[in-house]
């Protein structure tokens, strides 16, 4: 079947554009970039059509990558139903966002660089998704991290962009450290990293009632997931990552890369099912992240920041789902979220593009006449994310909340409140941008068709995406949850509607009320507006002490005093002392040296020849 072709196309695109793109015109660059993704998408479709129904995973072995003792890692790719869903999301949404980026990036410098990185990202993401062992997945995992770094720092001349890129990279390293440890532990425990073999090995073990080795592995892997998927406590990089171009935010930081954690947890669900403690941790972290990020989202004024916190919050939802064992619900939400969040970002990008780079909601308003397509599509996306039936978000969110309702009610209630907050801040942004009077200075215009076309397609997907019954598609591997719970459904929809109504009241009907509300909750508002000072707390608790230790203990103490002064210079002094004795030998006469060599070789021959060397 040549699965390797799927990731190969983007790689070729990356190489072509990366090596020679600078010399080529923009149409050529975009044709290569989009052509490679389109080829990959179509080939993935063909593969899935050919394989379907993919009842048993189809895998291909290419070569043995690492062979060392019992440890054997192959370069294997495989496709099962879960991978199929992810493949279509990555290539499909990726294709739309690539098309969008033609218009968005049209006037930016480094056009070829952007597209080559973008293709590289898709390559690594496909590798991540199709890898059939943890190590190969980790290659993709690191690769997408690299691309994220490169693309967040795309405007590397701006200090905030390179800072944000560094932050994303470093925070991800913490998570990757956990991931690596988890892999090491898995190797030590199962002697393999292959998913199938681990699953077979785990199946023979009992479920760990208390924390055991499987719990440790899963928790360590989950540390990796919190880094990549921006969960508490490692979520801080994602809002800053909005420094990159908006298509990057849409593709990497909303639709695909950040969901890698969810995908990974789902992929190794056989481990999590054996570690209920870890699953609880996942669910709790997920739900806390959801409401925490949603509360910050309410107060943000930067349109992309709003959606960034929304992403964090929705990722929390997904983790809530997978933590509760509703893996298919989590993946379902992953898919619908890819549609509507990509749409939200692209719409926001369209607005920003139309306003010449303006991102602050306070300087927008009344754009619905100037940008009708953006207005409508963003509306669809907002309805979808708010969980209003029959839009896609409703189905997936409902699946998660139903699971929560039957498992632990408190999580359900937090989830439901979060749903309301979600609806509120999304519609707040929508209302602030498109209603009322225009508060900015730039002349607003609708975006070019290369941008609006993906918007429309994504809007259709966001509207009807809920009818792709992902849980049923995944049901052979991930059993369907209990029946839909009507109560949970009604409550969540109710909260969503409440959120929309409040937003409409505060930002359309009586705008003054919002300000008075701000004033009433002044302290709390400031706290939330500053994101609970989490960055500052990290700064004070982790970064400052580290800096202090590094500069005083490691640099001044260890490096300068111990190594430089004592070891290096001290050694040099000692050697110089001895050398002043021995350099008397250094007569400068080659013949004297030769005589010494002769004496030495004579000694060697004597020793070897007489002491047994010659028999």
């Amino acid at each position: 079947m040549h699965l390797w072709l799927i990731p190969l196309f983007p790689l070729i695109g990356f190489l072509l554009n990366g090596l020679w793109g600078k010399r080529w015109s923009k149409p050529v660059v975009s044709a290569i970039a989009i052509g490679s993704i389109a080829a990959s998408f179509l080939y993935a479709l063909a593969v899935i059509a050919k394989l379907s129904p993919i009842d048993t995973p189809y895998s291909e072995h290419y070569f043995t990558w690492i062979q060392s003792g019992f440890f054997n890692v192959g370069c294997d790719l495989f496709v099962d139903r879960l991978t199929a869903v992810m493949l279509l999301i990555v290539t499909g949404v990726g294709l739309l966002i690539h098309i969008y980026a033609i218009g968005y990036m049209a006037h930016e410098g480094g056009y070829y660089r952007f597209f080559s990185y973008f293709n590289l990202f898709v390559f690594f993401m496909l590798l991540l998704v199709m890898a059939s062992n943890l190590l190969l997945m980790f290659v993709g995992w690191e690769g997408v991290g690299l691309c994220s770094y490169l693309l967040v720092g795309f405007y590397f001349l701006e200090e905030f962009a390179s800072n944000a890129a560094n932050k994303a990279f470093i925070v991800n390293r913490i998570g990757d450290f956990g991931f690596s440890l988890g892999m090491f532990l898995a190797v030590a425990t199962f002697h393999t990293l292959d998913f199938g073999q681990i699953a077979a090995a785990v199946a023979t073990l009992p479920v760990e009632a208390k924390a055991g080795v499987i719990t440790a592995i899963t928790l360590l892997l989950f540390v990796g997931a919190t880094g990549k998927s921006a969960q508490i406590p490692l979520y801080v990089w994602l809002p800053d990552a909005m420094a990159g171009p908006t298509p990057v935010s849409a593709l990497i930081h909303a639709a695909t890369m950040v969901t890698a954690g969810v995908y990974m947890v789902t992929r190794v669900s056989f481990l999590y099912l054996h570690a209920p403690v870890a699953m609880n941790v996942v669910a709790i972290v997920g739900v806390l992240t959801a409401i925490f990020a949603a509360s910050i989202g309410i107060t943000q004024n930067d349109i992309k920041k709003v959606f960034a916190y929304s992403t964090v919050s929705q990722l929390g939802y997904m983790f809530l789902g997978v933590g509760l064992g509703a893996y298919s619900a989590g993946i379902f939400h992953l898919m619908t979220h890819a549609f509507f969040k990509a749409l939200l970002f692209l719409g926001a990008g369209s607005v920003i593009h139309g306003l010449g780079g303006e991102q602050d909601l306070r300087h927008m308003g009344g754009l619905r006449k100037a940008m009708p397509i953006t207005f409508v599509t963003l509306g669809v996306a907002s309805l979808a994310i708010s969980g209003i039936p029959p839009f896609s978000g409703f189905f997936s969110k409902d699946a998660i909340l139903s699971a929560a309702y039957s498992h632990s009610p408190w999580m359900f209630w937090i989830g439901a409140i979060t749903a309301g907050m979600t609806a509120f801040y999304v519609f707040r942004a929508w209302f602030l941008a498109f209603f009322g009077v225009y508060r900015g200075h730039h002349h607003a215009h609708e975006s070019p068709s290369s941008m609006t076309l993906p918007l429309i397609v994504l809007a259709i997907l966001a509207a009807v995406g809920g009818f792709f019954n992902i849980p049923r598609w995944l049901s052979p591997a991930y059993p369907l949850a209990e029946n839909e719970n009507a109560v949970a459904m009604i409550i969540s929809v109710f909260f969503g509607v409440i959120g929309i109504v409040v937003a409409a009241y505060l930002y359309v009907i009586r705008p003054a009320a919002a300000d008075s509300l701000k004033a009433a909750f002044g302290r709390l508002y400031t706290l939330v507006l500053n994101k609970y000072y989490v960055d500052e707390i990290y700064q004070a608790l982790i970064v400052r002490p580290l800096e202090a230790i590094s500069s005083f203990v490691l640099w001044r103490g260890v490096d300068e005093t111990l190594i430089d002064t004592t070891l290096v210079n001290g050694l040099a002094r000692v050697i110089r002392g001895w050398g002043s004795i021995f350099r008397q030998w250094q007569s400068g006469s080659i013949r004297n040296y030769a005589t010494w060599i002769l004496a030495g070789s004579l000694l060697v021959i004597l020793v070897l020849g007489l002491a047994g060397g010659g028999r």
Binding site: T595, W596, L598, A599, I605, G609
Partner: protein, 166 residues
């Protein structure tokens, strides 16, 4: 016959080598060295190493020593002067040399007693065909490496010799 040849050419080789270190003019030494090399080539032939014997003549006799003679002629190197330096070599050298020779001879005669006798024609292993096969199978890597070494040596010699010193 081959015994006679060995004796004659061994004497020639030793005599030439002695001449090398006794003559004071470099060009005499160089010619003595050529004599040593040619007699060694004959000894190689006796030992069945016909390719090596010819290579000895071509490479050493025809290339290396020509370079020596050339350089001597170019620099018009005269006879050596006496030098009072290197006292250590002057005093410690002779006993060490004698000891060295004695030890080597002793070890050869005592430690490796069971050696064949040399009869010309009983074993001709070193034909060009055999050498070529070994070079291009078992010793391929050293062969390629040494060709690179030669290339680098050529470049080094050109760079060194062409450098103008002011």
């Amino acid at each position: 016959m081959d015994t006679l040849l060995f004796i004659v050419f061994a004497i020639v080789a030793v005599a030439c080598a002695l001449n090398l270190i006794l003559q004071s003019h470099p060009i005499s030494s160089a010619l003595s060295l050529i004599g040593v090399m040619c007699s060694l080539a004959v000894l190689y032939l006796l030992l069945g190493a016909e390719f090596i014997a010819m290579a000895q003549m071509i490479v050493y006799g025809g290339a290396v020593m020509v370079l020596f003679v050339f350089v001597i002629m170019l620099m018009n190197a005269g006879a050596e002067k006496r030098s009072g330096k290197s006292w250590f070599a002057q005093f410690a050298g002779p006993p060490l040399l004698v000891l060295f020779a004695a030890v080597l001879a002793f070890l050869i005669l005592r430690a490796v007693p069971k050696l064949r006798t040399v009869e010309f024609g009983t074993w001709v292993g070193g034909t060009a065909e055999h050498i070529g096969q070994m070079l291009f199978t078992e010793y391929l890597l050293p062969f390629e490496v040494i060709s690179i070494l030669i290339l680098i040596a050529i470049m080094g010699a050109v760079v060194l010799a062409s450098k103008e010193i002011d």
